[in-house]
Symmetry: C3
Subunit: 334 residues, 3 copies
C-alpha cells in the first residue's frame, strides 16, 4: 500500500495546503465514506455541508472550507483528484519481463523489455509490443501489429493483423480492432466481398471500452486520434477518422468514412450516417442521429438534429402533439 | 436420456393429471412438432385446435381439453413448462471436480469442490469459485473475484478483478463484468482518467446475455439485484443500481448512476440518460429514451417518453404529420 | 506476392482490355494512391479527372477513358474490383493440416483435412470442421457443431453446442452464435428460465461481424440464409429467420421471431419489435424501428416507419415543429 503526506500530494497537483501538511494518506474515497487516512474531494461548494461532516483525512477543495480535514486547494478539483487517485491506484505496468508459459509468442514477434504477457496470450509473427505494456489473459495480437509503450490490454481483446496502437493506450476486455469493414459489391442479387485491405491506427493515450469494435479501412486507414476516449459497445465503421481529445460515450455507432474533428464530445447512443463531417469542438447530446455535416462548433442533439435549446423545446411540443392536433381540428371546425 | 411418467411430472409442478398418468415422457416440444414421448403445452385456449391435432404424448393445459394426449392441468402453463423442460434439459452443473489441464488456476485461488473448469480458463490470485459451478472454455476470472455456487459461465466471459457474483448465476459468452467506467476529468482540452476504484456485485439467480458489458463503480458499486435477467449487448454504466427481478431485453444502454427499481420490465433498445431513477414495477416499451425520473409504476414508452396509450396515439399523429402541416397551411391561407 | 498481367486479370472478370494487356500488376489501390504496379478503379465517370491524373498501372472502368493506364472495361466495376482484389489478397484458407499444439480438440471431434486450427482453439466432442477452414486463435466450437468447408473464424468467436454453419462462412472476432434466447416464464414476481432447446443454422457464404450475437431458437431454429451479410454489434433474437442475400449494417437488433425475407437491405441502427415479417426485397433506411409487418417491397425508413420520401419530408416538418406550433397558436388567437 502506497502512503504519502498531504504535503507531497499537494506538490504533485500544484495545490496549496491548508491545515496539517504532514498528515498521512493511503487512499481516496468519496465525501460520505472516506476515512482519516483517505483523501476526498469537494467538486462544488454546494457540497460544503457534506465536506464539514466528512471523516476524510484530507480534502481537495476549490477554496478553503470550514472542516477538520487537511485541505489541498486547487483550481481543477476533478483533474487533481484523478491524478492523486492514480498515485494510489496506478494502472498496471510491466516492470520486469514476464511471459506466461501458456502464452504463444511467435519467434518472429518482438517483445520489448520489460513487458508482461499473460496466460493464453497469442502474439503473431512480426508483431511488436512496446516496453512497459501489459497484455492480460487471452489477448490476441495479429501479424505485424505495432503496440506502443505502457499499454494495458485487457482479456479477450483481438487485434487483427496490421493494427497500430500508440503509447499508453488502454484497450478494455473483448474489444476488437481491425475487423473487416462492411464492404460488398452487389452483383445481381448477390454480394461480392470487397477485401478490406486498409488498417487501423490508434493514437497515444487513447482508451477504448469493452466490446467496442473498430473496423479496418477498406483501402485506407481507420484512425482514432491521440487522447480520445471511447466507451463500451461502440461501433466504428471502416475509414472513419476520429480526431484528438474526443470523448465518445457508450453505445454509439459511426458508419463508414465518418470524420469527427478534435475535442468533439459525443454522449451515449449517438449514431452517424456515413461520409459525414463533424467540426472541431462540437458537442452532441445523447440519442442523436447525425445525418448532415456539422460545420460549426456548438451543441447539437436529437433527431432531427438541432441546436440543443431548440431540441428540448421541440421535444416538449412532441410531448403535447395530441393537443396540437386537437387545436388544429378545432380550428378547422370553426 | 432422462425418462419420467406424466404422473411424476405433474407432481413436480403441482398439476392434476387428466388421462394416462403412466405415460412415459422423454422430452418436450411445441404443439406442432412434439411426438408421443414428448410433452407440449397449450399457453392459451385459442390454440385448442392445434392441441387436438398435436401428436404430443402429453400436454400442459390451463384446463382440460378434448385431445388424445395425457394432460397436466396447471394454473401457470409457461412456468410449469419451463420447470419440466429443465428436468429434461438441466443447466450444466459440476458434479465432480474437473480442472482441464490447460486451465491456469493461480495457487492462491480457491476452487470449491466440485467445480468444472474448462480448457484455457484463467482464475487469478485470490479468486474463489463456488461448488457446482461450471466455467466453460476461455473464461477469465480476475484477482479476488467471488463466484457463487452452481453458476454457469460461458466461453470468453471476462470478470475484472474484485467482481462478486451470487449463486446460480448464468453469464453468457463474451460478456464483461467490471470493466472501467467512462470517467475522466477535463483538464484544459485533455482528459485525465479517473481511476475506477469501485466494483460490481451480481445477485443470486441473475442471467446476463452474450456481449453485455457491466462497468465497475467509479468509487462505489454497480449492482444487479437477485433474479434479474439481462439480454445480449446491453451496456450498464458505472454505479448503476438495478433492482431485483428486473427484465432487460437486448440492446439497451444505461448511463452511469441510473437506478432501476424492483420488478421493472424493460423491452429492447431502451436507453437511459444518467443519474435517473425508475420506480419499482415500471414497464418500459421498446425504443424508449428515459430522460427524466419515473416515480410511478405504469407503462411508459417512446421518445418523448409517455404513457403507453399516449405514445401510440402520438406515433399516429407523427405518421400524419405532413397532413397536419397541410391543414395549418390551409388555415393560414383563409 | 502474387503477380499477374492486365490481360489475365481482364479474363477473370470478363473485361475488355484497352491499352497494354501485358502490363504486370501486383496489387490494388485507390485512384489517388495506386502506383504503376497497382490496379485502381473508376466507379463513376464523375471521377474522370482523378482517373486521368492517377498513377495506377491499370484501371477498371465502365467505359474507355483518356488515361495513361491500361484499362479493363467491365459492366460492373465494383464487383470486378472485388474479384480482382481477392486474387491479390485472398481470404485465409487451410492448404495443409495444421493443429496448433495448444489447441484442445476433443478426440470425438472430426477435423477434415486440411484444416488450420490456431492456438488456444477449443473444439468440443462431436463437432466437425470442414476441409479448408481456418480457426484463428482462441475460437470455441461447442459440442456437436457442424462447420462447413473453407470457413474463416476469427479470434474469440464462440459457437455454443449444436450450431450449424455452411461453407465459406466468415465469422468475425468475438461474435457469438447459439447463446440462449431471452425466454422466461413469469411466476408471480419472479422469472423461471425457459430452457432454450433450439439451435442456429447459418447458410453458405454468410459473413457475420465482430461482436454480433445470434441466439439459438427456444424450441426451433434461428436461421440466417445463404449469402447474407451481417455487420458488427448486431443482436439477432431467438427464432429469427433471416433470408438469403440480405445485408444488415452495424448496430441493428432484431427481437425474437422476426422474419426477414430474401434480398432485404437494412442500414445501420435498425431495430425490430418481435414476431414481425419483412417481405422480400424491402430496403430499410438507418435509424428505423420496424413495428409492423412490411408486406410490400419498397424503401422504408424512420420512426414512425414510412416510405422513404415521406419520412424525409416528415423529418423536415419535425425540424420546424416549433414554427408549426407557433402558427397554431396565432391561428387560435385570431
Amino acid at each position: 500500500m502506497h502512503e504519502e503526506t498531504v504535503g507531497s500530494l499537494a506538490e504533485r497537483v500544484g495545490g496549496r495546503v491548508v491545515g496539517d501538511a504532514g498528515r498521512r494518506i493511503t487512499g481516496v474515497g468519496d465525501l460520505r465514506s472516506a476515512g482519516p487516512e483517505q483523501l476526498g474531494f469537494v467538486r462544488d461548494l454546494k457540497y460544503r455541508d457534506l465536506a464539514r461532516a466528512s471523516g476524510a483525512g484530507a480534502l481537495l477543495v476549490p477554496e478553503p472550507l470550514e472542516t477538520q480535514a487537511a485541505q489541498i486547494v486547487v483550481a481543477n478539483v476533478p483533474a487533481s483528484f484523478a491524478r492523486i487517485a492514480t498515485v494510489f491506484f496506478p494502472l498496471p505496468r510491466a516492470t520486469s519481463q514476464r511471459v506466461h508459459p501458456t502464452a504463444v509468442v511467435d519467434p518472429g514477434a518482438v517483445l520489448e523489455s520489460p513487458v508482461d504477457v499473460g496466460a493464453r496470450v497469442v502474439v503473431e509473427r512480426g508483431a511488436r509490443v512496446g516496453a512497459g505494456s501489459v497484455l492480460k489473459a487471452g489477448v490476441t495480437v495479429g501479424e505485424g501489429c505495432r503496440l506502443g509503450r505502457d499499454c494495458v490490454v485487457f482479456p479477450g481483446v483481438v487485434l487483427y493483423p496490421g493494427v497500430t496502437v500508440g503509447d499508453r493506450v488502454i484497450l478494455h476486455a473483448n474489444c476488437v480492432l481491425g475487423s473487416d469493414g462492411f464492404g460488398y459489391a452487389p452483383d445481381g442479387p448477390r454480394y461480392v466481398k470487397l477485401p478490406q485491405l486498409g488498417s487501423v491506427e490508434i493514437g497515444d493515450d487513447v482508451e477504448i471500452g469493452a466490446g467496442t469494435t473498430i473496423d479496418r479501412g477498406a483501402l485506407g486507414v481507420t484512425r482514432v486520434g491521440r487522447g480520445t476516449k471511447i466507451d463500451n459497445l461502440v461501433h466504428v465503421g471502416h475509414n472513419c477518422t476520429i480526431g484528438e481529445d474526443v470523448a465518445i460515450a457508450g453505445f454509439c455507432a459511426f458508419s463508414g468514412s465518418t470524420v469527427i474533428g478534435d475535442r468533439v464530445a459525443i454522449a451515449g447512443h449517438v449514431v452517424s450516417s456515413g461520409h459525414l463531417k463533424v467540426a472541431d469542438d462540437v458537442k452532441i447530446g445523447g440519442n442523436s442521429v447525425i445525418y448532415f455535416d456539422l460545420d460549426q462548433a456548438g451543441e447539437y442533439v436529437g433527431y432531427p438534429l438541432q441546436e440543443k435549446r431548440q431540441w428540448f423545446r421541440t421535444l416538449r411540443v412532441l410531448d403535447k402533439l395530441l393537443e396540437l392536433q386537437q387545436d388544429v381540428r378545432e380550428l378547422k371546425k370553426r
